[in-house]
């Protein structure tokens, strides 16, 4: 049975688009047929992160308005079997789409895909309502910062108010060094506050920027630690129970020296 997952956060810039691209690509790598939908009308991005921006002919609004068929608008990724993108319109307004339109679109996509991944725009207005209209469940992305977590809490309430099951959480841009010196909230701090199940932790890492530069999702990178984090998320989304590695801070020269002098505890797992 096909499933539609919305990736949302409330706050902008926390990693929804990056997560959507890597989750969709990861599921395709795992042999699933996946459609990812850029629901950020007017600010399309997912095409660039996936490196498919040069192949866009039609967009989501044109599909909804009946200007083209759904099949014509879907861009097939040539790097991996089963990955398709439905791009957002760049020159239209969010008001061009209504929740009922999205519901119908998602249902059509579910007919011949295993997963539909929706990249939600920031905010809690029209774009958010459109994005969750057809979703079966939600993944909430946050960073370990006060403002992002506050917005995540708000979104969790809204997701539950829309009769979706309890959402899952991804903590993005985790910095083990800052966590181990007490300057960033750790996993348990965040879970204590948001109280929803964790489905992934993604470190803050330069590989994300390099892969965005290239239009090549990092989940494809066999040897990248962030790529591995997204592969674990993909597995968990498919219902596979994957343990969470403790991201251990490389303590650095200073801490090593202190430990060697017997002034610091053995190793601070985070």
């Amino acid at each position: 049975m096909a499933e539609c997952i919305v990736v949302t956060s409330g706050k902008g810039g926390v990693g929804k688009t990056t997560t959507s691209a890597n989750l969709a690509a990861g599921l395709a790598l795992a042999g699933k047929k996946v459609a990812c939908v850029d629901a950020d009308i007017g600010l399309r991005n997912l095409d660039v992160i996936l490196g498919l921006e040069n192949r866009i002919v039609y967009d989501l609004v044109q599909v909804i308005e009946g200007e083209c068929r759904l099949k014509q608008a879907l861009i097939r990724d040539k790097r991996v079997e089963g990955l398709y993108l439905l791009p957002a319109a760049q020159t239209r307004d969010k008001a061009a789409v209504k929740p009922e339109d999205m519901k119908r679109l998602v249902n059509d996509l579910k007919e011949d895909h295993d997963f539909v991944i929706i990249d939600c725009p920031a905010g809690i207005e029209q774009g958010f309502k459109n994005s969750i209209a057809g979703a079966d469940r939600a993944v909430i992305v946050t960073t370990p910062e006060v403002s992002a977590i506050r917005d995540a809490d708000r979104i969790i309430g809204l997701v539950e108010a829309h009769d979706l099951p309890e959402p899952h959480l991804i903590i993005n841009r985790y910095r083990p060094h800052m966590v181990s010196r007490g300057d960033m909230m750790n996993k348990d701090d965040i879970l204590e506050i948001l109280a929803i199940p964790l489905i992934g932790m993604v470190p803050d890492h330069p590989d994300i920027i390099v892969s965005a530069n290239r239009g090549q999702p990092v989940v494809f990178e066999e040897r990248s630690v962030v790529g591995a984090a997204y592969r674990r998320i993909t597995d968990r989304v498919m219902g596979i129970d994957v343990p969470f590695p403790s991201f251990e801070a490389d303590p650095g020269l200073w801490a090593n020296l202190k430990r060697w002098m017997g002034l610091a505890p053995a190793r601070e797992a985070v």
Binding site: V146, R150, V179, G182, D183, D189, I193, W254, K258, L263
Partner: protein, 92 residues
Amino acid sequence: MRSLFQRLSEAIGPSKSQSKDEAKQRLKLLLIHDQVDLPQAQLDRMKAEILEVIAKYCEVEKDDGVEFKLNREDGHVALVSTIPVRRVTARA
């Protein structure tokens, strides 16, 4: 006595400030506050209903001097109200 190394460590080592504790504390307050941030219309309705209940037992000032607010104090949020009572009408 602190060793030279300890003093050196404090001077140039990583900061000991646990800023994440501050973040967590602030967040907890914020969220309580967000969650009890009732829209004015709802706050008005609640006020009317509470006054109705109180009116069963006391004769109270209905408009002037009645105060209802959500107060943010250190550590928690409280619903604070001041209702001037003219006289107690019912006896248990």
